[in-house]
Amino acid sequence: GAGVSQSPSNKVTEKGKDVELRCDPISGHTALYWYRQSLGQGLEFLIYFQGNSAPDKSGLPSDRFSAERTGGSVSTLTIQRTQQEDSAVYLCASSLAPREQYFGPGTRLTVT
């Protein structure tokens, strides 16, 4: 079956512009996660959605970052007024139970 998909695969943007990154989770998966992976670094937790519960936003680095999940499926991560330090690979993962995550291929964001 289809895995987790993310779009775009690559995004180059100018400093100060807003970007939207999209994640399509595996159908039926109730949990959805966003992580950030900077060059040579581990996975930095950003945000977690579980069903209809309020999302856990504890990992968002600043108020320039936001995410939503519509209809319990597709999620969009928005970064406003991008900065060069936002350059990274943004990974999305989904899971059903218990906790085994399926990762998408990521979106590589480059802020120039």
Binding site: L43, F45, L91, R99
Partner: protein, 113 residues
């Protein structure tokens, strides 16, 4: 709060030699533990997981890990590595009562011919 430590950021090892990648976690409650692998220019995939039961867990590609509650460790082992095992390995932890998964910083395994 949960945290995961992977003390070795880089591990070089010769082909066909054994390898152990260390992972320690901190949590005041019972945990679920995972190892993920990220091959060069690819996404992450699950190697193995511990949820309950036997403390020795076998995964894909000949890897295994042992959960040691008293030492709060979940070290990954393989008796004989191949060139194709060169990758980044991430240890992760979550609590049964909450789905949030915390990842360690990763260990880069380089297999030398």
């Amino acid at each position: 709060a949960q945290s995961v430590t992977q003390l070795d950021s880089q591990v070089p090892v010769f082909e066909e030699a054994p390898v152990e990648l260390r992972c320690n976690y901190s949590s005041s409650v019972s945990v679920y533990l995972f190892w993920y692998v990220q091959y060069p220019n690819q996404g992450l995939q699950l190697l193995l997981k511990y949820l309950s039961g036997s403390t020795l867990v076998k995964g894909i590609n000949g890897f295994e890990a042992e959960f040691n509650k008293s030492q709060t460790s979940f070290h990954l082992r393989k008796p004989s590595v191949h060139i194709s095992d060169t990758a980044e390995y991430f240890c992760a932890v979550s609590e049964p009562s909450y789905d949030k998964v915390i990842f360690g910083p990763g260990t880069s395994l380089s297999v030398i011919p």
